[in-house]
Amino acid sequence: MTAPVPGGVPDRPPVAERRLHPVTPFRRAWAPLAVLAGWAVHDPNAAQEQLTRLTGTMLLTGLSVLVPAAGLYGFLSWWFTHFAVTGGELRIRTGLLFRRTAHIRLERIQAVDVTRPLLARVAGVAKLRIDVVGAARKDELAFLGEREARALRAELLARAAGFAPETAREVGEAPARELLRVPPRALVLSLLLTGATWGSLAAALVVPPLLWFATHSVWTVLATAVPLLGAAGASSAGRFVAEYGWSVGESPDGLRIDRGLLDRAHETVPPGRVQTVRLVEPLLWRRPGWVRVELDVAGSDNSVLVPVAPRPVAESVVARVLPGVTVPASAARPPRRARWCVPVWWRGHGLVVTDAVFAARHGLLRRRLSLVPHAKVQSVRLTQGPWGRLWRLADVHVDTGAGGTVTARLRDAEEAARLLRAQAERSRTGRRDARPDRWMA
C-alpha cells in the first residue's frame, strides 16, 4: 500500500502517460457558436426574430457564459484524456463522467493516419487515427503536436512491427521511397473525363430552373438547388482538393499515402493488411489509358490508393502493394449461353485465377477488376438460382475480411463447383507463406 500522493491518481499504472496537445480545448470552445450558427442556418426566420429581440448586453452576457462553459468542458475533457504506449498496446483513457479505457493491440493495427485539417495546420497540430478491426468507434488522438504525432506514429509502427520496446522509440520513421505522384494536370483532366462530374453539374444547372417554372416557389427551388450544387461541388472541386498532391510511397512500415490541398492526410497501411485491390476504368478514361486503384483494408474507410494513373504505373503500384501479384491482362468470359441470364452485360464479366490472386472483372462501360490474394479469403460460396440452373450457370463469391465480397458471376456450373473446392484449398495454403502480423519480427 503506497501513500496516496496529493493530487495524484493512486492506482496509476507504471507507464508514462501523456496528454494531448494544449491546443485541444480550444476546438471545444467553438462548439456552442457552431451549434448556434447551425440553428440559424437551419431555421433562418426564427433566428432573425430572436436576433431582433436580443440586445447587445444580452448577447454579450450569453457569450460570456457559453464560451467559458464550453472552454471549461474542453479543458476538463482534455485534462482527463491520457494515452500511453506500453509493450504491445496503446492505451487511451478518456471521459469526464463516463470513463472509457481503450487498449489497442498494436500488432492488430490495420492502418495509422495522421491528418492535419486546415485549422490544425495553422495551429501546428495533427490528429492521429488508428484503424482496428471490429471497433465501431474510431480511436483518435486529437490533437497532438505535429512533430509528436509523427514520432508517435513511428513508434507505434515500430512496436507493431516487433521491435523491442526500448529501441522502438529510437528506430524513428522508416525511410520511404516514392512510388508515384499524381500531377495536378492529370487529376484535373481525369475529373473532366468523369461522368459523375458532368452529371452532377448538369443536374445542378437544369433541375432548379425546371422546378422554378413548375412551382414558382423560391423555397422549393432553394431546397433542391443547394444540395445539388453541393453535390456538384463535392464531385468536382471537392475531389480535386481532397486528391491534390496525391503521392504513394513505400517503406518498410508499409504503404504511405499523402494527399490533400487544404487538409493534409498521411496514411500508413502496414504490410499484409490489404484485403482487396480494385482497378476501376471509367469509359472515358480508356483512351488515355488511365485507371483508378481502390483498396480495402479491414477497419479503414479510405478506399482510394491511386486516384488516377496510367495503367502500367498503376499495375506496378499494385505489384508493390500485393507482393508477387501481377495484374492479369485478360479474363475468361462466361460461356455464350450466359447471354440468356444477363443479356448484353454478360460480356463484361470475367474471371482469372492465378497462383497469387482471385481476380474477377465486371462492368461493360465502367470496367472493374477486383483482385483478392488467396491468403485473404475468409470463405468461399457458390450460389445458383433456378434460372441459372436451367442454363447450367453459377456464381462464386469470395468473402474477405474487409467486409467485401468479390463475385465471379455466370460461370459454368461444373467449373464453378471445381473452382469452389480449388479456391478453398488455395486460400488455406496461401496463408502459409503470408507474412506475420509483426512484419519485422
Binding site: R108, Q378, S379, R381, L382, G404, Q423, S427, R428, A434
Partner: protein
C-alpha cells in the same frame, strides 16, 4: 494433415461425407405450420362464415391448401441442408431452388456459436454458427441435436485453434 485424422473426422481424403440434419427441425417446423394453419383456417372460415353465410366458410380451405404445399416445401428444404467436415474446412450446402454452398477453412474461424431459442430448446435442438472476419460469411447449421452441436463446436474450435490464422 497435422491434426484430425480421416478416421476421426469420418472424411476420407477429398471425398466429403455429407451429413443431413436430424428430423427434429422438420418436426418442429411442420408443427409450427400446423398451428399457424389451424389459426388461419379458423379465422378464414369463421369470420366470413358467420358474417356472410355458411358457404363463405369454405375460405378455410385456402390456408389448408397452402399448408399442404408448404408441408412439402419444408420437407424439401430440410432435406437440402447438409454439411460435411473435411480435414481442413467445413462445407455447408443448402437450398432447393436457390442453392448455396459455403466453404469455410477452419483457420479462418473467429468464433463458433451454439444458439438455441426457447422453442428450439423445447424440441431439443441447437444451431451452430461460424463467424469469420468477413461479415458476408453466413455459415450456420440449424436444428442439430445439442450433443452433436456441442461436438461440432468443440471440434471446430479445436481445429480452428490448430490452424489459426489472422486476417
Amino acid at each position: 494433415m497435422e491434426t484430425g485424422s480421416p478416421a476421426e473426422t469420418g472424411a476420407a481424403g477429398d471425398e466429403p461425407v455429407w451429413r443431413g440434419l436430424p428430423p427434429g427441425l422438420l418436426r418442429m417446423r411442420r408443427l409450427l405450420l400446423l398451428v399457424w394453419t389451424a389459426v388461419l383456417a379458423l379465422a378464414a372460415g369463421l369470420l366470413p362464415g358467420l358474417l356472410a353465410g355458411p358457404v363463405w366458410g369454405t375460405f378455410a380451405l385456402l390456408p389448408v391448401a397452402l399448408a399442404a404445399w408448404f408441408w412439402r416445401l419444408l420437407g424439401r428444404n430440410w432435406r437440402s441442408w447438409r454439411y460435411a467436415e473435411r480435414a481442413d474446412d467445413l462445407l455447408i450446402r443448402r437450398g432447393v431452388l436457390w442453392r448455396e454452398e459455403t466453404v469455410v477453412p477452419y483457420g479462418r474461424m473467429q468464433l463458433v456459436e451454439v444458439t438455441s431459442g426457447p422453442l428450439e430448446r423445447y424440441f431439443d435442438l441447437a444451431s451452430v454458427q461460424l463467424h469469420t472476419a468477413a461479415a458476408a460469411t453466413d455459415a450456420v447449421v440449424p436444428g442439430l441435436d445439442p450433443a452433436e452441436a456441442e461436438r461440432l463446436r468443440d471440434r471446430l474450435s479445436e481445429l480452428g485453434e490448430a490452424r489459426s490464422a489472422g486476417l
